[in-house]
């Protein structure tokens, strides 16, 4: 399947005239990566459209975090090409990173600083003036229901609140692509649902393209795009319904089992 075939356009962009509608939010082209002799990613190809929710599904060790590190330029690209709204991350990293917000799997907040101080620091790293940053910080803290905790140390927040703050921080510079790497790991059921709802709202209301790495089936919905990654190889991609149909399965769980030949992500043996 070509990269064009792989284009996941499960939700049309809301503004057809915008530049965002012309370029894929994220384009991964023939990306491979090795750690010494071990190949972590092998010829991965897919795109994420603006205003779409794409789930990157894979077991632990599938290569999801490596892919995130490549997209965010934490690792240099060994083979292939990654573009954010047409900007090559290797050649014009500044332009590409400016359009991207990231929530990494490990917590990246400064625990000893307050919520506002964490947001102001992030804003400064994006060149946003202190005055504008204060306005935006107050706005996002209100939106995530933490305005009354703005002066508290991050250390005093719950896991779910920290994640919400990280998402708010990732949106502070108003990116058009949001990457979330297993953002709900370690959270309770309600906190997971809240965060997922919040991110889906960003897609529908703000037209942000989202790449959501997960190993949990129940976080994927029928309208989502789906990329299945297993042992560094991309086994399937496209709208979720098509991936399931192509695998001759009834649901995403069975489709994943058939594609990977493994037990389910929830631990059930293949049928």
């Amino acid at each position: 399947m070509t990269a064009t075939d792989a284009h996941i356009a499960n939700q049309p962009p809301p503004d057809a005239g915008a530049v965002a509608a012309v370029q894929p939010a994220l384009s991964i082209g023939n990306v491979s990566h090795s750690y010494g002799p071990r190949r972590a990613l092998i010829d991965v190809n897919f795109t994420v459209a603006p205003a779409s929710f794409t789930a990157l599904l894979g077991l632990n060790g599938a290569g999801k975090s490596t892919l995130f590190s490549l997209v965010t330029r934490l690792f240099g690209i060994q083979n292939g090409q990654i573009k954010i709204f047409g900007h090559d991350i290797s050649r014009t990293p500044g332009e590409a990173l400016r359009l991207m917000g990231v929530v990494f799997q490990p917590r990246t907040l400064d625990l000893d600083l307050s919520l506002t101080q964490n947001l102001l620091y992030h804003a400064a790293l994006h060149g946003i003036s202190r005055r504008e940053a204060r306005l935006r910080s107050a706005e996002v803290l209100t939106r995530i229901g933490l305005a009354d905790r703005s002066g508290s140390k991050v250390r005093d927040l719950s896991g779910g609140q920290m994640r919400r703050l990280e998402i708010a921080r990732a949106l502070l510079h108003r990116p058009r692509l949001l990457l979330l790497d297993e953002a709900t790991v370690g959270l309770d059921v309600k906190a997971r649902a809240d965060i997922l709802d919040h991110v889906r709202q960003l897609v529908t209301e703000q037209g942000i393209g989202v790449l959501w790495a997960t190993h949990l089936f129940d976080e994927i919905m029928p309208g989502d795009g789906l990329v299945v990654l297993h042992q560094g190889r991309m086994l399937a991609h496209g709208p979720m319904a098509r991936v399931i149909a192509d695998a001759g399965a009834q649901d995403v769980n069975t489709a994943f089992m058939r594609l990977t030949g493994t037990a389910t992500l929830t631990g059930k043996p293949p049928t």
Binding site: P13, P14, D15, A18, V19, A20, Y35, G36, A40, A51, S65, T66, S69, T72, R73, L74, F75, G76, I77, F85, S90, T92, P93, G94, E95, A96, L97, R98, L99, M100, V102, F104, P106, R107, T108, L109, D110, D112, L113, Q117, L120, Y121, H122, A123, A124, L125, H126, G127, I128, S129, R130, H173, R174, P175, R176, E205, Q206, G207, I208
Partner: protein, 282 residues
Amino acid sequence: MSSTTVTPERSGFSVSEYIVCLNGIVWREALRFLHQRERFVSALVRPLVWLFIFAAGFRQVLGISIIPPYETYILYEVYIAPGLMAMIQLFNGMQSSLSMVYDREMGNMRTLLVSPLPRGYLLFCKLLAGTAVSLLQVYAFLLIAWFWDITPPTIGYLTVLPALVLSGLMLGALGMLISASIKQLENFAGVMNFVIFPMFFASSALYPLWRVQEGSPMLYYVCQCNPFTHAVELIRFALYGKMNWVSLAVVGGCTVVFMIGAILAYDPSRGLVRRGPGGGEA
């Protein structure tokens, strides 16, 4: 889609964005420093112990002849003051690198490294922030030392500032380079044994080089090659309103080399350090 959420396409960064970024990084470093009061206290106690105890004990056995930049006989305490100022900066540089290793392990470093501004500039800002913190410590030490009769010319407090900035940058860049090559926090103990102690003791911080030469010509040459020796001498001369051109050249050159090394080490496309999944880097 809300039109207010779309970032307009533009390329490059304005000067004000660079300044905002620098201010933000220095501000965050200062906040962290203020939150770690014990770090400030320990940074001061260390040189003061040397000054009050070590120097008091050795002043009788370690006589200092008249050597530039001094124009008369001086007490041993006066001699080692510039070395202790440099020691504060050496420890601060390594402390900053320790904090970078910690940030990398905790994930905070990712916040910095995914900023759209050029990575070299971000690291330089981080370096400047660390140097600014070291200046606070050095001037606090000078204030206390003044009550101990370490009284350089008044103008010396001003003329030493550029020297302190340059030596702070050099030692910070060295720390940054080291932090890029350390994979785990536990490995940092090795830095104490293999970097800080050898650099400090094989220098002119505690004894003049002519005395070292009398005792061990080999060690004398080692001291001459040690960039920390030149940082000490640069500070010593500047504190008395004089310039040591050789030291300036060595410290300036080493700053550039260490800084380039640090930027290369943190550059993902040319990294010196092999990075593995799950936290080798950032």
